[in-house]
Symmetry: D2
Subunit: 298 residues, 4 copies
């Protein structure tokens, strides 16, 4: 199939190469023309404007956006909507908030365009060699695209989750679960690290990944991380968050679902990002007020 | 009544003066002889050894320990047990773990001595002018001492909680609740502090303390703290913990009582005490492994 | 001053009587005409339509809404906006989300109307005899109204928190803190209840309220509750939530403030409201899969 | 090698058969003589008393205990210690608390006996066909036994974690991590379940297990569980806990490691086990006291 990739960053370019490997024709566009040139060397047919991307594809066009969530997606859809033809398909392969996807779908549907949300997991490496996709789409649009999804994902690694919006929703929850699992692993190794025993974290991650109940890809990566740096001495304990954990908790709150583990995982990240612990200041000040406990001065 | 105060630190000395104000005779001992001399100037009859303390009191002796919890209490009880007379009374006014109190009571009971646990709240200021005490004691021992407890506490501010051990148990839970309340207040002010609004924290603490649902002594202290330092700029957000919050959680775990708020309050303190966030390092390393997310290097 | 009270439920009627006691003239309107009739018997000048309420007040009118947050407030403001005169003042005394207050203020400001948000704490009893109010308003509007706020609140019990919106914001955070404090108290008593000791909860709440660090109005109410029902045998452990705890957590998430205690307090309420624990089902099913641990069948 | 298996329950018997498959000679003992008879039919050499077990093995004996943690282990070690010969080896393959293992090792070492702790994961199925073991042992004892561990575990699935005690310690932390992961998965599916979308949980578990970041054995089991019962309608959401999660939190508390996720996972289980939510009762009663909010009566 002929596919237009919009956004040739780490994820987009790898997806393009993955498609080419599987016999598809890829036209690629990126705001950065050097990036387009780089991709051309690896077999992507380059486009240097959105219009050129659209023109180089023949209807029924399939344009797969691999761009940052938020305003960039809205801007791009606004522009695409005026140059695409009825029945063309746009796939949003980024981490858009599913509420935005639902809203955008309303707008595009009225123009006769089809929006597909393909929540993608597996990282950069997965985009290149086989990813995992949760796909929200109308039934007939999904059928039209299924061979492509079959090709770029690992075996058994794609699912038509339901109508447009469900792909990003299921991917969001996936990431929420990921937050909790990462925090659980982190806490386990912090206990090991705090104990008086002299332990080999890399070897422990290795054995936990062979035959144990918690064997998993993340445990394999844990082994890799400790192989590179046995005590993680070079790394600061600052953990960023890109939005999906937050959205998962926001959605859980709306649905009145108690999510202590996912929420606390997010709070741990927030605390790690801050220089100042104002809560701690208040408590330290109060302990000084009532008990004369010393505060640490700056 | 004649009372021996053992330990003339901030709490012990204030308690001694409180007793004297209320017409009791106080013999005071402290390991530090300068401390004893200081107390003598304020009306305390000084003793310069444990033996002198015991000898200066006439049976039925009442010795009130105001010393740090843990080994010092065990050592002192060991020594006292060999020089006191049958039926003498020892009050432990410190923050001993109630499990230790139960154990010590077994040992002292066999010698015919009576142990009373008087869990004390209200801080240094309360010890001087009226505290709050939760008192575990045999019924007749409590009756014997009740006038003393009536005198040194605020009106309505003492309770015979039950047999020996219950005083420290109820005081422990009191402190656990305190951990949760402090954290709730801290979180509230951190939200105010993070908002874009320009707010006066001292004034907010003031109004929250007059007529609102959360009016409390701690809110009064919050106002005082912000009066001294409007944004707590001089204070580091490091919060220590002296043991009772930990014991409350340990006891809750044994009793299978879910205590998310008290436990998380304790964890926030633990995190504030650490230079290094190993959990965060593990998660940052893993995010780098699977998503190529940058780690912050040291 | 002449004040129109819009909504004569528990809170509105008590506020009306409080105003009358303090020498103000009150015109009162409620959708339910029987409610208006009842209020007339207690000195309120009745109005049987919004229009009548507005007509019975002379400009510069002050209309104080005491109605449920959400759509009712929007509907009422819509209708009021077309019948009020420029410079009239509307006070929203309910628990509106401050984001809505900010939005509504934009709309009313363009019409020359003034919106004041008076976040009110102290419950039904406070509305009658002296409440606590956090008031967002333009400076001159606040000055115009200050005597009224002075009259209906306890001494020191009102604060001009800043421009319109800040009153509801500070009140929201107040309620968030309240969630945490309530949960801390609840956990404390659950530990007491689970222990083997035979304890008197009412007496413990009483002593904790005299001289201790955690003395507070809520502890006084705790004593009252246990006075009525020593083991709370008649009450189900289902805790509802009216929105402000949720909004506090949502706002904290947006501001990236870690609020483990407020959030977990909310989750405990959510769990208590549900018949079914789906998380628990999933874990029980998984423990059966990997360890053969028995699941409880329905 | 000749191995004595002590305890022929689900785990012990499967381990015995696993050993036999790998060419080892197994003498098996169980308190229940029918259990011994059953095992004899599958190739185990039966023993009908502890003494017979010991006598049927020739020194240097290796006795592998697969019995419930706690008192049974202490009793058995007490008895074994008087009938074994110097230098014999006892393996504790159960989920003993590592603090007990350290204590027992002190006692056995003085008698010249060697204690090995083999924390075992992988469930009943793993014991039969390849488990995962974390092994604490003196270096030379581990070397003596290594071929056995190599045989009964999956490839790469055993680790000499360090001296005696470390095996159970690392296994304990493994289970703590497991608590957190299970809760994260549970929360994710509860959000899916609460949403308005019509989703297929089995298919979602399937796709999450192919190429996604959270692919893992537990996700495979999640798919299996939903295959059996698509909405888990037949299962109650009651989750038991066998001790290791509790010990992990207790140990983290001692080490001052913040473990919000593991602790909250445990609290969720505790809450699920209780008929009555006393915390909830207290809060419901208090909301009634201050706000007139209705309580649900029993």
């Amino acid at each position: 199939m002929e596919i237009g990739i919009l956004g040739l960053g780490k994820m987009g370019k790898n997806l393009a190469l993955n498609l080419i490997d599987n016999g598809h024709q890829v036209v690629g566009y990126d705001r950065n023309s050097d990036t387009v040139k780089g991709a051309e060397k690896e077999g992507v047919k380059g486009a240097y404007s959105l219009e050129e991307l659209v023109n180089k594809l023949s209807p029924r066009r399939v344009i797969w956006m691999m761009i940052p969530a938020g305003a960039p997606v809205d801007d791009t859809l606004e522009r695409l909507s005026s140059i695409l033809d009825k029945d063309d398909i746009i796939i949003d392969g980024g981490n858009s908030n599913f509420n935005n996807t639902l809203r955008r779908n309303e707008f595009l549907k009225e123009l006769g365009l089809h929006l597909v949300d393909a929540g993608t997991s597996g990282g950069v490496e997965g985009a290149r060699n086989g990813a995992c996709m949760m796909i929200g789409a109308e039934d007939d649009v999904f059928d039209y695209l299924e061979e492509v999804f079959r090709d770029v994902n690992v075996e058994n690694g794609y699912l038509h989750t339901g109508p447009t919006g469900t792909g990003h929703f299921v991917k969001m929850v996936h990431n929420g679960v990921e937050y909790g699992i990462l925090q659980a692993i982190g806490e386990g190794f912090e206990i090991l690290h705090a104990s008086d025993f002299d332990l080999d974290y890399k070897e422990i991650a290795r054995v936990w990944n062979h035959g144990s109940v918690i064997r998993s890809w993340l445990m394999e990566l844990t082994k890799n991380a400790f192989s590179r740096d046995p005590y993680l001495d070079d790394i600061k304990g600052v953990v960023n968050s890109s939005g999906e954990g937050l959205w998962t908790v926001e959605e859980a709150l709306k649905l009145k679902v108690p999510v202590p583990v996912i929420a606390n995982s997010l709070f741990v990240r927030y605390r790690s990002q801050k220089e100042e612990n104002f809560t701690g200041k208040v408590i330290a000040a109060l302990r000084n007020e009532f008990g004369g406990h010393k505060v640490e001065k700056k």
